[in-house]
Symmetry: C2
Subunit: 117 residues, 2 copies
């Protein structure tokens, strides 16, 4: 579990710092078989995901990760859920990472805003 948690922490730090500084660079994390579900809309392939992320209607954003839960899906495959509970816009995001040449790519990515009750 220690290794899975370290991989998840490293991935999440990289993902959100890249998202907040230059979203176009996130495309290296996705492959043709990758899928992003963004607020209920499924988007498949690295190209389409990159288009969606770079066309989001805001130019500046800052993510503050509140909780991070990682689990092994197999001994080497982490599944990661991130929760950001105390900011202006709350969200939950789940990543399923697949090993690829010493690194990982994102196979599954599900993002949802959590609206207050």
């Amino acid at each position: 579990m220690a290794e899975i948690n370290a991989i998840a922490k490293q991935f999440v730090d990289f993902y959100y710092s890249t998202f907040d500084s230059n979203r176009a660079n996130l495309s290296s994390l996705y492959r043709e078989q990758s899928m992003l579900t963004w607020e209920g809309t499924p988007i498949q392939s690295a190209t389409a995901i990159n288009e969606k992320l770079t066309e989001l209607p805001f130019s500046k954003v800052q993510h503050k990760v509140e909780t991070l839960d990682a689990q092994p899906s197999s001994p080497t495959i982490p599944s990661v859920m991130v929760d950001d509970s105390t900011n202006a816009l709350q969200f939950s995001q789940t990543f399923h990472l697949i090993p690829d040449g010493g690194s990982y790519y994102v196979l599954n990515d599900i993002f949802r805003l959590n609206y207050g009750g």
Copy 2:
């Protein structure tokens, strides 16, 4: 995607109606290699997960699923994120389902309450 969405809907309906009526019956959904992360605490094996779920400090609960996002992790393996945004206690939960003898079991289960900001 239509089949994955149908499997996810069927699973989620079964999971939460069972959770809300008789939590002990959820144990059939988990295996020895299954992991539940409950509010940050990792719990592994069907037996340990069943103990945790049945010992939760409430006897009556009702889940109302607000959004449900499903993706194929492989052609036959759904990854499901559930979000419950408008109730007294908001939560997000992610399931990773594995085919098993014509049905599915839960390999990964991550649960988090979303506290209001």
